[in-house]
Amino acid sequence: MSTKRTMRGQVAIAGIGETTYYKHGQSPDAQFKLTLKAILAAAEDAGIDPREIDGIASYADDKNPPDRIAAALGMKRLRFSNMVWGGGGGGGSGAIGNAAMAIHAGVADCVVVFRGLAQGQSARFGSGAHYPRAIAGSYATTIPYGVMSPAQMFAMRTTRLMHDHGISRSTLRAVSMASYHHAQNNPRAVMHGRPLDEEGYDNARWITEPFRLFDCCLENDGAAALILVPAERAKDLRQKPVYVLGAAQGAEYRSGAGGHNNPDYATSSFKTVAPDLFAMAEVGPGDIDVVQSYENFTGGVVMSLIEHGFCTYESANEVIAFDNLVAPTGKLPLNTSGGNLAECYMHGLELNIEAVRQIRGTSPNPVPNAELAFVNSGPMVTPATNAIVGSEATL
């Protein structure tokens, strides 16, 4: 006798919460206060007493520890606490996956997934000034050569992607312009009121070739949270349930090899992860209504879209075009709240929240009749993670 091992449709996202999103260093609140505000907002959205939360999951070396959160909220008990490995933003969808796994396994009943940071308190990703004077291990083979920031860690993958597959600069530009376009309808977006046109993108300063300024994500202050509960409980709560149909995490063979020695170099790390996700969700890329794809850098989005089958290496320049990427008319609506480039760099958790909004029908750029939403978190890192969520009709 065999039992199919899946958590498809067993857990739902019942609540979402965000603080105001600030430019980096401009939050009036400490990052722990931001975190508490986002969690309380998610609980209020769901119609759940925050004291009933019994699990806490995060990622990206978040600095807001679960013991302090549980104590501050007066949680009756803590049953699950968990962090996805990895210092970048690769773990957002994985944290949701871990929360869903905990609920599906029966070890917790109400898990909050969160990310909270104020960069006055925590070091900026894009600055190397915080590195120590001496450095050992595999980073000793890169950092002393001026390869310090995430843009510098991932630029050479994009160079190689463009070289091997003829990916054009206009394809990178389309990704950036789609995010900025969507942010103009989103009053929460840090770049609301700051539209970007082709000339603005093309004339922006280089960060590191091949990335110009608008190929790179923002750095922001804020917090975001989602609350997950068993599917049957979500039906009785305040919001339309958004079901976790699949979640996956990982990377290819020796993806984490040091000093840029991952054998398959120009990859978003999703080549082995994407099939797991679609298999669990029991859908294919052609079934997805709206895509939220983490933009640390535009090149990583192109790799992610290809590796998840939304296009091929050969069709990427044609498919990843501005008109295709914008809601409500595009065939492949992408990053419909403005994403990491133009809404807020909440290390991608704002993308997971936007996926929920699309299924609820409350996005600032709604895709008509969206039933299936896809999210991939930080491409090019290890582990990379992804998720598919859907409406009740998709169960």
Binding site: S127, A129, A155, M156, T159, I207, T208, E209, R254, N261
Partner: protein, 144 residues
Amino acid sequence: MSDSFVLPEGLPKPVADDLDGPYWEAARRGELVAQRCTACRGWQWTAEYLCHRCHAFDLAFEPVPGEAKIFSWQRPHHPVHPVLASACPYVVVLVEFPEADGIRMVGNLVDPPEGEIPIGATVEPAYEHHEAEPEYTLVQWRLA
């Protein structure tokens, strides 16, 4: 001497750990070595305790054979560290060794050309000796 360095003094310095000491010591002598398994003879970089192919712990350091080719590159313009403010732009190359199982090393390209850097071009190591205590050597690259 520092005028001949690609990047100014003041960036984090490399220090050897219990795995990669022979690499940094060889660089001081103007030699390029990498990890090679004494059991299966496969090349491995960066250094690790275990051979990822045959799981032997007996890894040695041997001179890296064959030509070095530019596999990818970038040209940083934005100074991400205060001491880079006067050094941008500079060129970073990812160099591959086809005759050593395709291991790769990161370094700076000395006297880079303007514009596109030629992927596939052969490069040679250029040892950049930093004499201030603690002394160390960076392995830079020059178009052959």
